[in-house]
Symmetry: C2
Amino acid sequence: MEASNRAAVICRAIRRAILEQALAPGDKLPEDTLGERFGVSRTIARHALGQLASEGLVELRRNRIAVVATPSFDEARDEFDIRRELERLVVRALCGRLTVAQLQELRAHLADEEKAHGGPAANSIRLATEFHVKLAEMTGKPTLTRYVREIAYRSSLSLATFGRPHSSECAISEHRSVIEALAAGDGDAAASLMAHHLDQVADRAFLKVAPARGDLMEVLAPYAEVDHAASGHQPPKPRLRSKANAQSSG
Amino acid sequence: MEASNRAAVICRAIRRAILEQALAPGDKLPEDTLGERFGVSRTIARHALGQLASEGLVELRRNRIAVVATPSFDEARDEFDIRRELERLVVRALCGRLTVAQLQELRAHLADEEKAHGGPAANSIRLATEFHVKLAEMTGKPTLTRYVREIAYRSSLSLATFGRPHSSECAISEHRSVIEALAAGDGDAAASLMAHHLDQVADRAFLKVAPARGDLMEVLAPYAEVDHAASGHQPPKPRLRSKANAQSSG
DNA sequence: GGCAGTAATTCTGCATGCACTTTCATGAGC
DNA sequence: GCTCATGAAAGTGCATGCAGAATTACTGCC
């Protein structure tokens, strides 16, 4: 799938780091540091960054250090709209075509999600995303898989930027009901359950922006971001994001 | 939008060549030839090829010359399914939000399509594709635009592989009705007209595979391709494609 | 102490060189 | 005439070096 192994290793590492929110939007990714860390030359590191940029996970600006992408609020919203349709296609393609082994794999994945529930959020987030990617892969449709994977990873960046603390228990039960609808061969149900699930994720994550009380910054962040998008260039904003989230119980 | 100008120039040139079918699936793209042609080093050419590969227009195999991608029949079919949903999102996003200037631009584009109707097919194909890309761009949604653009360009490769002679007059009238529905602010109509249009394109292009009489090769090509995909590696197949198409009136 | 101007450092953009792989042409053997 | 080995040519994979841009550190000044 990836051009060469050595660049692919870097890509995978960075993708995973983003997924587990070890890398946050805006974090710098200098070519030589990267190359040094992975024991390759800048050429390879550069190649990997290009690949990640084409997936929307990294932003490349001329003569500037590459940074982890910072999706705007609008982008996040629009991408969830796309994602809903793509994943609807996924479950429709899957319905009635899943093998016993595949169903078993999905249920095993669900078990992993449950097991990770009490633990660190990074694991839960990663597993939840991988559930969607795994479903897409099972369609055997390369383009659909690619788009779902890209957008799912991008979603985790949106979550990092705008999301409030991840609540995984709802997601898990929604995953389960999608699987059961697929197992029952009910494509319509599976499709609307998936669409509903993604709407819920979006709502939980950043659409219902806090019930008024508490941190004003958090409420305003999305709207501020909209303004930035309109004005066309990024204001300073040095890591205000994580601070705002951390104080949400203020 | 693209990392650097110099690589972007090469990308644009190749994309356009593909769109106008001056480059056919399987055509070779050696790094140094490319670099020489555009007055840059292999490094830049290589970078451009990586970019195009990430868009699915070029296939990169280790230690092998890059080639223009050859979508399989299944891929082509699946991508039209994706495209239908994406472009439905496009017209829904556009409906009621198009400015007078934008409507004017779309109608001007339609006029260009009509003007190109009698002329070389390359022009008609390019303009038809650009119509869809232009619509997507007008949404202002970067990810949606990117995906529609990628898939539209990929479609032109599918057409080159499986398509029969392009018939542009239907496409043009269908484009017109989409625009008029958008101008009238009827989102439902626009969405289903667009979906219908894409279905028609797919049907005209390669789903109704010739009415039995004539060249057997042409009828079998898609099924042969399905087989290749299943067996996992490409058989020789040295440009059989264009020959089969040319003899379709046998 | 705060601030502007400047030098040093860091980092990217790109070409080039070398090692290795694939491909192709040539010719020997059957 | 056909197949198969063999060596040359062509092409990619990757590291490195140099030029220039961006950033940072530093110094003198108010």
